[in-house]
Symmetry: C2
């Protein structure tokens, strides 16, 4: 289990490391930033579903996350053009700003941390392992 332990430890440390950088810079927390990045990626068709799938949280959590982002003025729900059960979640100008600033801090922190590493090799190694999980029965709720 050495690999498991080392991986969990590293991921936790990296998350906390970046989160501290964001806080120091007055940028949104990594949790909020991650949500904003997802919403941006799927814009303008981002829904609660996209949050749940990309962030691997439950629908309920995703719905409440959207509530919080909206209350903080970072996003705004728009009527879905063709499905009245759903909404599009659009970044407000404030949200765009927060995303831009946060993404830059994240970028910087990572490029310092990974300077000199063969990043594309790391990415493909991690993706390959991840794909090995996908073949086993992984359910999403």
């Amino acid at each position: 289990m050495d690999f498991f332990d080392a991986l969990i430890r590293y991921e936790t440390n990296l998350w906390n490391h970046v989160d501290r950088r964001l806080q120091t810079a007055g940028a949104p927390s990594l949790a909020v930033l991650s949500a904003l990045r997802v919403l941006k990626r799927y814009a303008p068709a981002s829904r609660v579903q996209e949050l749940r799938l990309e962030l691997r949280i439950t629908v309920g959590a995703a719905s409440k996350l959207a509530d919080r982002l909206e209350k903080e003025g970072l996003v705004q729900r728009q009527p879905h053009p063709s499905d009245r059960r759903s909404s599009f979640i659009a970044l407000t100008p404030t949200g765009e700003q927060a995303l831009t600033r946060g993404a830059r801090v994240l970028q910087d922190a990572l490029s310092v941390h990974l300077a000199g590493e063969d990043i594309s090799a790391l990415v493909s190694a991690v993706r390959r392992l991840d794909e090995r999980l996908a073949v086993s029965p992984a359910a999403a709720r």
Copy 2:
């Protein structure tokens, strides 16, 4: 940020994957199992501190975690032999059993997942990256 995203995704997927295996097997959740493993590793001198440090949670969370484990009959607080501010947290026989069963499920799940991989290479790669974080000012609360 590709590496960051891939890593977070993989770690989350792996955690959920293993957690499902544990649940299926009727073993303790991965959160509980992780705590039991820490307590076992530092036995017989395991305290709330060890939980907080190894699991990277706050003291308050560690204290409440110990409460829950105790309520479930998996551990029992013993008076610290030389420091009355603290307690030793010992596994009960039930806790030992849960640990043994859970650890086996974890082992099995990982060896299936990683079959054919060069595990020691993976471990040292991850540890090396982790150590690069340690040099930057990382605070623990």
